[in-house]
């Protein structure tokens, strides 16, 4: 029930299964947290496979990892962290009911996400050129024929993990686009900003996954290598 004079009637949609808006918000928030936990288990399976094989073939994984561009990876990490910052600022703006600021920060988040994905595409293209994409034309220079398989394993995990992460980013971008559209129509107020909150949670989660991916994939034994 819209109780604030300045809030448009459509912005507070109390669904009929709930008694109060507070209950609805609580339920939605809990739902998003549980969903994120399922995502942890989802990515966890891949992390497990990665850990098993890294333990089995530590040297080859280190060599394969060193062929990734750590500067680009680090830059991308900074980009994502900044996007989490702009996302938090969007949530804050929503809490304060400042529509223009919400839109601005959501757009910035979306742009930064786009930068991340663009850089990722560039990296993948590099891998393609170097024949590091698993498949019939895979070949890693500098390793013997019996080690190609293990190197290919590394790259399979690399593409699976970063690919799944990128997919989540794309979905996140779609959600952000939808949020921007709704924000521009004044849907979010200080009383009702649950979608911004929840999608913010999702975005932060996707960021955290990357924070784990980056060191695991890019930084194996870097401290041992010559700069």
């Amino acid at each position: 029930m819209a109780s604030e004079a300045h809030a448009p009637a459509e912005s507070l949609a109390l669904r009929e299964q709930f008694e109060t808006e507070a209950q609805q918000k609580d339920a939605s928030t809990l739902g998003m947290w549980i969903f994120l936990i399922t995502e942890v288990m989802f990515f966890g399976g891949l992390f497990l496979a990665y850990m098993v094989y890294r333990r089995l073939y530590p040297d080859i994984f280190a060599i394969a990892s060193s062929s990734l561009n750590v500067y680009i990876g680090a830059a991308n990490t900074v980009v994502l962290l900044c996007s989490s910052l702009t996302m938090v600022l969007a949530v804050r703006a929503a809490q304060l009911g400042r529509t223009r600021a919400i839109v601005l920060f959501l757009v910035l988040t979306l742009l930064l996400g786009g930068v991340f994905l663009g850089v990722k595409a560039y990296e993948w293209n590099e891998k393609f050129v170097e024949h590091h994409i698993p498949g019939p034309s895979f070949h890693f220079e500098g390793l013997g024929p019996d080690q190609q398989g293990h190197a290919q394993l590394f790259f399979s995990l690399y593409f699976a993990m970063t690919g799944l992460h990128a997919l989540h980013m794309v979905i996140g971008a779609g959600l952000l686009a939808m949020l921007i559209w709704q924000a521009r129509r004044g849907r979010f107020t200080a009383e009702y900003m649950t979608p911004v909150d929840l999608i913010g949670l999702y975005w932060h989660f996707v960021d955290i996954i990357w924070i784990f991916l980056f060191p695991l994939l890019y930084l194996i034994d870097r401290h041992l290598k010559q700069p």
């Binding site: 073939y57 040297d59 390793l143 013997g144 024929p145 019996d146 080690q147």
Partner: protein, 325 residues
């Protein structure tokens, strides 16, 4: 018949009566609880059957004492089951030192058996009565499982690694061999027989038939034809370590670790030489994956075992604890 109950298969190994005793214990415990529950339900249902629609029984919400009793007692019983089962399993994982080594290569859909002396069998395994036999097994394609009900033993046979199974037969005769891991079209056709023979009969069988090269002789031929000897010189002057007396020794690796040179180590050194490089040597050995079959690898393993061996060397590497290969 060696078994006491018609629902048990024949007992033909030292392990079989042990497993059957455990089975009997489990059966008795299960029967006891089954009868207990069935009887209780039956009795309560009849004794306390509803006599009028307006009956309202007195409420008992629960009793901690009872809950503890029927948690602790079953737990105690299960711990006995655990201990008993674990001790059998542990025994099964440690072949005796004097076990006769025999090799098994599984492929869709047959069992290839290779005796050290060179005899090859397909879907049949002849063994002497009363001697421990240790099978070292691998697969050429998918996962299979070597199962002999009369011996009460089973082990998956996995491509890319060796697994082992041992038994000691106690009764002459012929016993089913089944593949117990689904492996495709003719999974149920991948069956055969274990022939347990009196020692003299077994000797006759071994020396009968066309004289075949022993596994080790076959390995020696491969060692030459694949030019292994060019690098692995016996006196250690080649680019690569000498293999004399290698089997069973502890090897220092370039990354600082130590491993025991068992069958799996030798196999990996042939197929993936760069994985574990010996300290002080360069990783220059090429891989022989694709150039030698699993059969060939087994022959090379046997040959390398035979180089400068003493009986202690041969047995030290078998049945490493912690790895139920």
């Amino acid at each position: 018949m060696g078994s006491k109950l018609p629902i048990f298969p024949e007992q033909a190994s030292t392990l079989a009566p042990d497993v059957d005793h455990l089975a009997l214990f489990l059966l008795v415990v299960a029967a006891f609880f089954t009868v207990l529950i069935f009887t209780a339900i039956f009795y309560f249902a009849i004794r306390y059957r509803r006599r009028s629609d307006r009956e309202l029984p007195h409420v008992q919400h629960g009793g901690m004492a009872l809950e503890i009793v029927w948690s602790v007692i079953p737990f105690g019983i299960t711990m006995v089951m655990f201990g008993w089962g674990a001790s059998l399993y542990y025994k099964e994982s440690r072949p005796p030192d004097n076990a006769i080594p025999i090799y098994v290569v599984a492929k869709q859909w047959m069992w290839k058996i290779e005796h050290m002396e060179g005899q090859r069998e397909i879907n049949e395994l002849h063994v002497p009565l009363g001697r421990a036999v240790k099978l070292t097994m691998t697969s050429e394609d998918v996962i299979h499982s070597f199962f002999v009900p009369a011996f009460r033993t089973k082990q998956d046979v996995v491509p890319g690694k060796y697994s082992t199974l041992w038994f000691q037969s106690t009764k002459p005769g012929k016993y089913h061999l089944f593949c117990a891991e689904y492996c495709g079209n003719r999974h149920s056709g991948m069956i055969g027989w274990i022939y347990v023979m009196e020692p003299q009969d077994y000797q006759n069988w071994l020396s009968g038939g066309a004289p075949a090269a022993s596994l080790s002789e076959g390995g020696e031929k491969l060692f030459t034809s694949l030019a292994c000897a060019n690098c692995h010189k016996a006196d250690g002057t080649g680019r690569c370590p000498s293999l004399v007396g290698l089997f069973g020794k502890t090897v220092q690796l370039a990354d600082g670790n130590k491993v025991v040179a068992d069958e799996a180590y030798i196999r990996e050194s042939i197929l993936q030489p760069a994985a574990q490089v010996v300290a002080g040597y360069q990783p220059v050995m090429p891989t022989f994956q694709g150039l030698v079959t699993e059969d060939g690898v087994l022959q090379l393993v046997e040959y390398i075992k035979s180089l400068g061996e003493t009986p202690e060397d041969k047995t030290r590497a078998s049945g490493t604890l912690g790895e139920r290969h």
